[in-house]
Amino acid sequence: MIALPAPKAEILARREEIVAALSALVPGDGVIAEGIRLKPYETDGLAAYRQMPLAVVLPSSTEQVAAVLRYCHEQGIRVVPRGAGTSLSGGALPLADAVVVGLMRLNAIHEVNYADRYAVVGAGVTNIGITKAVEAEGFFYAPDPSSQLACMIGGNVMMNSGGAHCLKYGVTANNLLGVKFVTIEGEVLDIGGTYLDAAGYDWLGLITGSEGQLGIVTEVTVRILRSAEGARAMLAAFNSIEIAGAAVDAIIGSGIIPVALEFMDKPCIHACEAFAHAGYPLDAEALLIIEVEGSIAEQDALLARIKDICARFDPISLKVAETAEQSLAIWKGRKGAFGAVGRISPDYLCMDGTIPTSELPRVLRRIGEMSDQYELKVANVFHAGDGNLHPLIMFDANDADSFRRAETFGADILKLCVEVGGCLTGEHGVGVEKRDLMTVQFQPHELAQQRAIKSAFDPAWLLNPAKVFPLEGALSPALAAE
């Protein structure tokens, strides 16, 4: 288990006073302090970690967020920002002496401008909610994390979320124009705007993916894009991971950038097929889902090229969707991958490393060996175009030893990702989950540099404590003081 810092006794002792003060700042039903109603906030998408917070506050405006942060700053109270609570890295895990600031009530769509192709939305609008608001005009918001039905744009900004389609459209950072940003001192700053690349330090780029370490985002201006005329997928199944990897290289090498290029290994194919009956070949060692965009004729031309390329790699099967319905069926298994694994195992850890794509065969072989060593099953899904690997480690949370082995197995996979030239996290964030592995990727002085930048925004280290940066080593002022 990953250690959390001891709560400040002095803050715990003042709980009633703090709740009363927050209730004055966010009147009505905006403060939650009773046990049973606090319960939903004790964890997030990393459900193995639970901790009840001091209180939860649900502001309805940027001004209320600013007032809450100003108060917490004055009183030295730790703050944990929260969107929908879907973080898979424990990014929204509370601390006993922390106030959770939930942003779900900032759920208004303030402005949509089709001529200039942007939308201004509250941090609590769901990812899919943005696309829903603009799809009637043929537009969409591009980044599409698997949790897009639930996750909120404020959380997407804080974690720099990706998705299956970022090979073509980029991640959250590439699709933002501006944010309304509240500092721990309660100052409200407009960062960026409705335009591109004004000169000056790229605060927007630094804030994106900062995991709540620098401030709270209450409003987001995103780019919206016109959807392509259509999209269609194909399946290609291969006899080995190496061959599938070579096929991916050949597709990219041909000059085609598919809008999505997804890879599944055999355990994942089996889990998904049992769940979704998508028609995946069960004798395959590796499966690719390849999606292209354009008119029907363009789709036909691109899929024919890709089919020719795949045919050179002795495929077990090639299936090109003839219709949008067949395309959906191909995607159905992949989109249900996490649920499918949840069906065959009581619990799983969803890991998230990135590797150079050429290292895939070696990495999957090593993961297979580790699976034997730790006596835990693993299924792998992989955004093959961009090297982002999601091993799903199956374990039983009621068995403490099983959980311990799963965590160690996961850590070993991420160390392997770094060893082969990749990184600890491609899109889920460091959170609490990978915090103690940061020393695998960064030298102590590099972490000290990042900490110093964090201190420039949050000198007392009140924002989302115990995440991202290891507790040991060059400690934050706030933690060192204890």
Binding site: A115, L189, Y195, D197, G422, A452, I453
Partner: protein
């Protein structure tokens, strides 16, 4: 002219930074010097150049990744990529014409200034494709951020912070960029429109179409305005989409299509701001604004006797006008009034010293910015006064 130190390797850069730190002497940081004249002049007895750090250090076409030392000429990177049918996504400009220099721009300088060309509107800026950096901070330490993979959210994104920081936060020694296959074909639709407002409306209709427009510019010519939209893809796709696009934009004015060579030359000129035809003694401003407000900013500049061209669908307004502080005040005010931000891009040194060359920041942000600068460059060694007056 200050003394230029140009070490042949990263260790030499570190040694120079440590020496400057010990002597408490600031350094002017530069690459090849192709954009000398951008921003405020740095008051430093010595310049530290990365021009000796050259060469591609890693290129994996199938992983869409290239790494190069900071001083590597942009042209060398482009040539290396072209051998494998790939290109730099943001279509970075050279700007030798704008700055009257002959030195080849370095890749480190392109990143340090976050300069992007016409393709930025659809495919992202230079900073969007910086996957990894090595830089030397003010303590003389090597700091790495990002890596050599396409998706990476591990720790704070210092790649973005350093991109566009003009050498004020650290000395970039190596960059890793995402690249893409170069398109097989390029074609451009030119539409003769009556004025800037109609031209930008045409660009907006093009960018809002499902045909993947990869550049959109508006160029005033005599008594009308040329709206230009580009398609880049496989040849069959470009041909198909051009027909569709001509239909969608049929009502905006007379049309002409430019194919490959002519299309590429046209956008190279737009990238280099050539259509502005700024003469040597004029100043150049660069205004970022929401595209539909571009014509308003342009009109305000033309009222001052300035000339304009618009890129990025209308959202990037280039202005050439007399180098006076009155013009600067008027242009920055009109940008602000339209919710945008203006930068003085080229001007005589006297004007660059007299006015804020960059958009001003709110006081609380400036305070945080000063602390971030202190965190990276505690001795204030790098490019003092370059972005803003001390």
């Amino acid at each position: 002219m200050s003394t230029v130190i140009a070490p042949a390797d990263e260790a030499g850069i570190i040694a120079a930074v440590q020496a400057a730190r010990a002597a408490r002497e600031p350094l002017a940081i530069e690459g090849q010097g192709s954009k000398r004249g951008l921003l405020r002049p740095v008051q430093a007895a010595r310049s530290l150049s990365t021009r000796g750090l050259t060469g591609v250090t890693l290129y994996r076409p199938s992983e869409l990744i290239i790494s190069a030392r900071a001083g590597t000429p942009l042209a060398e990177i482009e040539a290396t990529l072209a051998e494998k049918g790939q290109h730099l996504i943001a279509e970075s400009p050279y700007l030798n014409g704008v700055f009257g220099t002959s030195a080849p721009p370095s890749i480190g300088g392109v990143v340090a200034a976050n300069l992007s060309g016409p393709r930025r509107i659809t495919w992202g800026a230079t900073r969007d494709h910086v996957m990894g950096l090595r830089f030397i901070n003010g303590a003389g330490e090597v700091i790495r951020s990002g890596g050599r993979v396409l998706k990476n959210v591990t720790g704070l994104d210092l790649c973005k912070l350093l991109s566009g920081s003009y050498g004020t936060l650290g000395v970039i020694t190596e960059v890793t960029l995402k690249v893409l296959p170069a398109p097989e074909a390029s074609a451009t639709l030119l539409i003769e429109t009556p004025d800037l407002t109609s031209a930008v409306a045409a660009l907006s209709a093009g960018l809002g179409s499902p045909y993947g427009v990869s550049a959109a510019a508006a160029l005033p010519v005599k008594d009308h305005v040329i709206a230009a939209v580009r398609l880049e893809d496989f040849a069959a796709s470009v041909a198909y989409r051009m027909e569709k696009l001509r239909g969608v934009l049929g009502n905006f004015g007379a049309q002409r299509v430019m194919e490959d060579g002519e299309s590429r030359a046209f956008w190279r000129a737009v990238r280099e701001v050539e259509p502005l035809q700024a003469v040597a003694d004029e100043a150049i401003w660069r205004v970022s604004v929401r595209p539909s407000a571009g014509p308003e900013v342009a009109a305000a500049a033309m009222a001052l006797g300035g000339r304009v061209m618009l890129d990025w669908g209308g959202g990037l307004v280039w202005v050439a006008a007399g180098p006076s502080s009155e013009n600067h005040t008027a242009i920055t005010a009109s940008a602000r009034m339209q919710g945008g931000a203006a930068m003085l891009f080229r001007a005589p040194e006297s004007l660059r010293l007299a006015v804020p060359v960059l958009p001003e920041e709110a006081a609380p942000l400036a305070k945080i910015g000063a602390r971030v600068k202190e965190a990276l460059d505690p001795g204030g060694l790098f490019n003092p006064g370059h972005m803003r007056a001390a």
